[in-house]
Amino acid sequence: MLRIVPRREPSRTMQILTPILAVVLTILAGLVLFALLGKDPFRAIYIIFFQPLTSTYALAELTVKATPLVLIGIGLAMGFRAGVWNIGGEGQFVMGALAGGSVALALHGSDGFWILPMMCVAGALGGMVWAAIPAFLRTRFNANEILTSLMLVYVAILLLSVLVHGPLRDPEGQNFPESRLFGDMMTLPVLIESTRAHVGFVVALIAIVVAWLFLQRHILGFQIKVQGQASQAARFAGYSEKRIIWLCLLTSGGLAGLAGTFEAAGPVGQLVPGLPVGYGFTAIIVAFLGRLHPFGVLLGGLVMALTYIGGEAAQIAMSLPSATTRVFQGMLLFFLLAMDLLVNERIRWVPRPKSERAMG
């Protein structure tokens, strides 16, 4: 029979290699899947994984999709390191967009370079407030943050919908449930002419370096790691669990909120009910794909962005179902977790004991 036995010391190289292997396995499984669907598998894989890398426009789109994934992913990864399971990045993203967007709408018609930074601050605060609710419930009542943060996602999405159907609706918009378009001073500067790549990506890159420094060198980052790996050792050292929970949830909420503002003030340019497209959930995969390491999160975010863009392209070019993207993202997470298991444990074939067998 098969037995799963833990390895004594998991190979470091393999730990870094697993995400890459997971991507390769996802591609291989994709080939089989498309063949079974009766599509040309190699063309499909080419469109999904490689074509987006061949044009400036597509590369720019890659950064557009990667920005929210990376920003949310960094925050989530930090929390996951500490064993703080914020699953509500999507809700914090929406609240950030709502807060940042509300500032833009309130200042409609005004001008000034300070508006955009103010929107960003409001967005980050919006996400933090939303993440503060699970933090409070967890530290005060020991309520599971997985459940509370997840439930708050739906509250946030409905709140956005109510507001764009009502108070935030564009007065000149023929009753469509959309806000006004943000003015020039309220949208993010574009990085490359005639694409949608915006400065948000630069902010995401800076956030990665800061997060790396924080986790590797700062005492709070150290506390986060100790808390996640051995909570009793954290108590022995004197680290406050409540403080770490607040820190992780506020940081991840703030980053998700910032990502939401970037989305509203960047590619979308207004508040619409369809603003949340699942970045907050996909970022969970990004965090694990990136080994909960800031640089890994960057790579993970780019890979997941690729599946979004490639998936859309494949839908158009080969009339594949829209579920393709989700299936690929799911497979990626599945293979990653499976590879993880194999790195940390090994599977041994143990012969089924026969009662008559003599010893020796």
């Binding site: 790996q229 022995f236 050292a237 010893m359 020796g360």
Partner: protein, 507 residues
């Protein structure tokens, strides 16, 4: 020679990287109390797991009553008349004694008359037990009786006892030994596993000594001294630690009427604990596990804050309100009982583990940023001075052996030059060499002027290093008495906190 009950011939068992048993052979006669003696990691547990059918050997043969014996699982071993009392009990606290016993025996034995048979067996062997009490309300010694009665209900021919006395008071040990002797005279054999030499000399007819998985000696314990047994077990000659003169300074640590309620069901409340430890002095706190030691340690470290700051006073300054880092800054250091997961983070490197508790006193951070180079130097210093065997300070804590990690943890605290060191079970589960090293280091620290408090269940350890010993029982601490004025007997009486429970079966 009387009938051979169990004959073990050439049993070997290897795990990745370790030869746990290497060609082990010995025999146990009917009605014999046979000791299996060896240090931690000598292969005792593996061998009894093979006999009890938990593991299968790589090579070798066993016969029981002259017939081949190769149990594939514990139930097969039990069916052939082997019983085992484990060191760690498998009991449900929220169930009664009878319910626990019914869960753990063959279904055909768990019939309606089980209750009366429990009472019968427990009376017959002097193991008084109320079948209707909740296990959660029982003392550790009484819980062990539940396990023993459960084992005896199956009419075993061989009972394996794995370190049975490590959780008992000396008086409880006496009762246990009477039971075991009675069993032996009735013809039941006992395989007795221990590293406590005195009790083996008293109890056992023969001893097989394991070292590094091999049988290194067999002997008749009554003809040996504890010292000669120890040397066979360890394979080198031992020199006992030498205590310095008893010139103590002012009071450094003062615990004043410390009380604290338990943090969980069936936990122990701390009640009115008071103790002073002076400069240059080592005070030991003895007691059976589960009598409030864990809670006391948490209160002293500051993991759980006490109600009033002056319950813990350091050099005249109340520190009871300070969190662990504040207490360290004030001069206290701590060695918690559990190495992996409490004193050290298993997956983190030795350098990171140095930061864990030495950051404040060793300036391992500056303005919130870690000073990794200084931390690495400190970690190497610990490794050098405490001769920790490791491939390097960047290796994970869990890659070290128990003894080496314990030396590292103790070294990390001692090298911070604390004015007060509080250590729980400082040599639990480490080899004799490392234990001697740690004892020396603790005594050196005290003679340098620190106050040292050691909480331990190992009375031999406390007698070897302490100047005074107090006993914790059921959350209350006895007066600390000078070691010279104490006998093991007296300590034992104090350890039996719930005295009336124990008188019941003596009568």
């Amino acid at each position: 020679m009387p009938d051979t009950l169990l004959d073990i011939r050439g049993v070997s068992k290897a795990f990745p990287g370790v030869q746990a048993n290497d060609d082990v052979s010995f025999r146990i006669s009917a009605g014999e109390v046979h000791a299996l003696l060896g240090e931690n990691g000598a292969g005792k547990s593996t061998l009894v797991k093979i006999v009890y059918g938990v593991m299968r050997p790589d090579a070798g043969l066993m016969t029981l009553h002259g017939k081949p014996f190769a149990p594939q699982k514990p139930s097969e071993a039990r069916a052939r008349g082997i019983g085992m009392v484990f060191q760690h009990f498998s009991l449900f606290e929220a169930l009664t004694v009878a319910e626990n016993i019914a869960l753990g025996i063959a279904p055909d034995l768990a019939r309606d008359d089980l209750r009366s048979r429990i009472v019968d067996v427990s009376r017959r062997y002097g193991l008084e037990l109320d079948p209707d009490r909740l296990v959660g309300e029982l003392s550790v010694g009484q819980r062990q009786r539940v396990e023993i009665v459960r084992c005896l209900l199956q009419n075993p021919q061989l009972v394996i006892m794995d370190e049975p006395t490590s959780v008992l008071t000396p008086q409880e040990v006496e009762v246990l030994f009477e039971t075991l002797c009675q069993l032996a005279t009735e013809g039941c054999s006992i395989l007795y596993i221990s590293h406590k030499l005195e009790e083996i000399r008293v109890l056992c007819d023969h001893a097989t000594i394991l070292r590094g998985g091999k049988v290194v000696a067999t002997c008749t314990p009554k003809e040996e001294t504890a010292k000669s047994l120890a040397e066979m077990m360890i394979g080198e000659t031992l020199t006992p630690p030498v205590k310095g003169s008893a010139a103590f300074g002012e009071i450094r640590l003062s615990i004043n009427r410390l009380s604290m309620v338990a943090d969980k069901q069936f936990g122990v409340d701390l009640a009115d604990i008071s103790l002073d430890v002076r400069a240059g002095e080592i005070v030991g706190i003895g007691g059976v596990a589960g009598n409030g030691q864990t809670r006391l340690m948490a209160a002293l470290i500051g993991e759980t804050l006490v109600d009033a700051a002056d319950m813990i006073v350091l050099d005249g300054r109340p520190v009871g309100g300070l969190p662990p880092e504040g207490r360290r800054r004030a001069g206290m250091c701590f060695v918690p009982e559990e190495r992996l997961g409490h004193a050290a983070v298993p997956e983190m490197s030795l350098v990171e583990n140095a930061i864990l508790s030495a950051r404040v006193r060793k300036n391992l951070s500056h303005k919130g940023f870690l000073n990794l180079r200084t931390a690495a130097r400190y970690a190497s210093d610990i490794v050098d001075r405490f001769s920790v065997k490791t491939a390097g300070v960047n290796h994970a804590a869990r890659s070290l052996s128990g003894g080496n990690l314990q030396k590292y943890v103790v070294g990390r605290e001692i090298m911070q030059a604390p004015t007060v060191l509080i250590a729980a079970q400082p040599t639990w589960g480490v080899d004799a060499g490392a234990a001697a090293f740690i004892h020396d280091a603790l005594m050196q620290l005290a003679s340098d002027g620190a106050a040292v408090l050691v909480i331990s269940q190992d009375l031999d350890e406390l007698f070897a290093i302490s100047d005074r010993i107090a006993v914790i029982a059921n959350g209350r601490l006895s007066e600390a008495a000078l070691v010279a004025d104490l006998t093991i007997e007296e300590i034992g009486l104090r350890m039996g906190g719930q005295a009336h429970d124990r008188k019941a079966f003596h009568a």
